[in-house]
């Protein structure tokens, strides 16, 4: 049985890290990072089988996570560091000269935990589908996870991959869409509506589940359900509702914090809402 309190405690620390990392360099993307904290914490600390001690790009006999919307790197870096992939102290180098923690994730500088560069949107699902094909060829029965943004669904390449996976029975893959209905220029509905996204995925041949991404109990339940649906010749997609900026009250419910760093005062307020649980870097 998962320890939800433990996951919540990690999430609280991850939120602190996100806000502090972004504040320190006056740049970065706190909104989506905060919204996806529960999911990524839960994946790495409860759900995925992974080798954090000896990182291997091949991920043989490991579950693998691909982040398509690379701009939410702060949440991923924090979760990876606390999981043991690299020293937590390294979070202080985020976006600084000569850092392995680039603005958007990259393999270029050898940061453990990262298997592909991402940031230019719409590419992650294709990479994940390729990795899922490789796992099948390699007779490796572990699972590929891929997180995408909702605004990112406007990229045509996503739909190429969405078409490929059911046709080729990619059933060792769980794709997740962060459905926070916010992107840089406004709400997704205003910028370019995705319409009935669930119906669209289903029409493409995916099994679609829905999840509240900011409720750890629901994240655990739906991820388990998704896992149970694998191996049936049908790819699984989770439409994950989140609130951008979740956990920091003045960042919630707006797209204003997509790519904006908080001031020192705003950071103090954000930190007061999220207790230090594992120790700040």
């Amino acid at each position: 049985m998962a320890d939800i309190q433990k996951l919540q405690d990690i999430t609280s620390q991850v939120r602190r890290d996100i806000v502090r990392m972004v504040n320190a360099v006056s740049s970065g993307h706190p909104g989506g990072s905060l919204g996806c904290a529960e999911l990524i914490v839960t994946l790495y600390n409860e759900v995925m089988v992974h080798n954090k001690k000896e990182f291997n790009k091949n991920g043989t006999n490991e579950d693998m996570f691909f982040l398509s919307q690379g701009h939410i790197s702060p949440v991923w870096y924090s979760v990876l560091a606390h999981a043991g992939y690299f020293p937590v102290s390294e979070l202080s180098t985020f976006r600084k000269l000569n850092s392995r923690l680039q603005g958007h994730p990259t393999t270029h500088d050898g940061l453990p935990g990262i298997r592909i560069a991402s940031g230019s949107l719409g590419q992650g699902l294709s990479v994940a589908v390729g990795a899922a094909q490789a796992k099948k060829l390699n007779k490796d029965d572990k699972t590929i996870y891929c997180l995408m943004g909702d605004g990112e669904q406007q990229e045509g390449q996503v739909w190429e991959a969405l078409m490929y996976a059911p046709h080729n029975k990619i059933d060792n893959l769980i794709a997740i869409v962060d459905y926070n209905n916010a992107q840089i220029d406004g709400s997704v509905d205003e910028v370019l509506s995705l319409g009935n996204l669930k119906a669209k995925y289903e029409a493409f041949g995916w099994l679609v589940l829905e999840m509240n991404g900011n409720d750890i109990a629901d994240v655990l339940k739906v991820l388990a359900e998704a896992k149970a649906k694998l191996g049936n010749g049908i790819p699984v997609l989770i439409l994950m509702t989140t609130i951008m900026g979740n956990g920091v009250d003045f960042m919630m419910g707006t797209n204003g914090w997509h790519g904006k760093a908080p001031s020192d005062e705003q950071m103090a307020e954000a930190l007061s809402q999220n207790p230090e649980t594992l120790g700040d870097y």
Binding site: T60, H108, R115, Q123, S126, V129, L137
Partner: protein, 318 residues
């Protein structure tokens, strides 16, 4: 000019198909992807022998490149095949981020490059692909000249660990390189010893340069001929050694004069030994519909154009 024995005539894309099959037999990690151009890329033999190692992506090149990057986990060596136009310009950002920047062991197999695609016209005749690919850090760029060399290049690309752009073409061209050749990436092939001018040629233009050299020999001019199958990394030593002897160079490529082999050679010379150079390449324009021979003539890529360029560059020698 040395006499080259022509052992037949075939398209370089068939050399790729044959090389892919052999690479697949050599190494079970070799896999292939194609975006609805299996016949054009000559991939059917590989598919027949290794059906489980082939992935048909449909007309979705961006997804094909992303998938290729993902497929590399566990040591797989993906060859992603389509026309050169769709293998580069259409998916530049995917190659840049998911393959080159991510350092993935992906081979981009690009057929129907250049004017010799012929009647389909400029929409499909990419003349900018060498430039696009050579600008990507870490990308190897190979443009072999005939069936045998393309086959050898494909096998060598499979053995090389890192991203490779492999460019070949549609028309049948003379086979004059050995079937059993060693292909060393980044190592130029010295085809003819000469003293009056250096010709550095790549791809289909190597045979045109041989034709030009034969004509020039009749006029008493001797050509030092280099087949530069690898444009990046460029074999600067071979070029400098030849130019030190001849004092003049003509570069020949089926590509835009901007961004191609000629500019790479000019950079090497500017840094080391400034030398008069003439460029046989397309003069910053798109192509059009016609037969390959008509287009090579109209756009200045025939052996006659090479002869004229050699005479011009010799007259510029100090």
């Amino acid at each position: 000019m040395k006499k080259f024995e022509v052992t037949g005539k075939k398209d370089t894309r068939s050399g790729f198909g044959a090389g892919l099959l052999e690479a697949g037999r050599n190494d079970q990690n070799v896999v292939a992807l194609c975006a609805d151009l299996v016949g054009s890329l000559k991939m059917q033999d590989f598919i027949d022998e290794f059906p489980e190692r082939f992935f048909q992506t449909g007309i979705a090149e961006a997804n094909m490149i992303g998938m290729s990057a993902g497929l590399t986990i566990g040591g797989k060596i993906p060859f992603a095949g389509t026309f050169a136009n769709f293998a580069t310009g259409r998916v530049y950002d995917q190659i840049r981020q998911a393959v080159a920047y991510s350092g993935k062991n992906v081979k981009i197999a690009a057929s129907h490059a250049g004017l010799t695609l012929g009647e389909d016209g400029a929409t499909h005749q990419i003349l900018e692909d060498i430039g696009l690919m050579k600008m990507l850090p870490g990308m190897v760029v190979i443009n072999p000249c005939d069936f045998n060399q393309t086959k050898a290049a494909t096998i060598a690309a499979a053995k090389y660990d890192g991203p490779v752009y492999l460019r070949f073409g549609r028309p049948s061209v003379p086979i004059f390189t050995p079937a059993d050749q060693e292909f060393e990436i980044g190592k130029a092939v010295h085809l003819n010893e000469g003293s009056d001018v250096t010709i550095v040629a790549t791809g289909h233009l190597v045979w045109k340069a041989i034709e030009a050299g034969t004509e020039l020999a009749k006029e008493g001019l001797s050509v030092d001929l280099i087949n530069i199958h690898t444009i990046k990394p460029l074999d600067a030593d071979a070029i400098l050694k030849s130019v030190a002897k001849t004092g003049a160079v003509v570069t020949c490529e089926e590509h835009n004069v901007l961004g191609g082999l000629g500019e790479s050679v000019a950079r090497v010379l500017a840094l080391n030994n400034p030398t008069p150079q003439e460029f046989i390449a397309v003069n910053d324009s798109f192509g059009e519909s016609a037969t390959p021979d008509q287009l090579m003539e109209k756009y200045g890529l025939s052996s006659g154009h090479i002869v004229a360029a050699v005479k011009k560059v010799i007259s510029r020698k100090k």
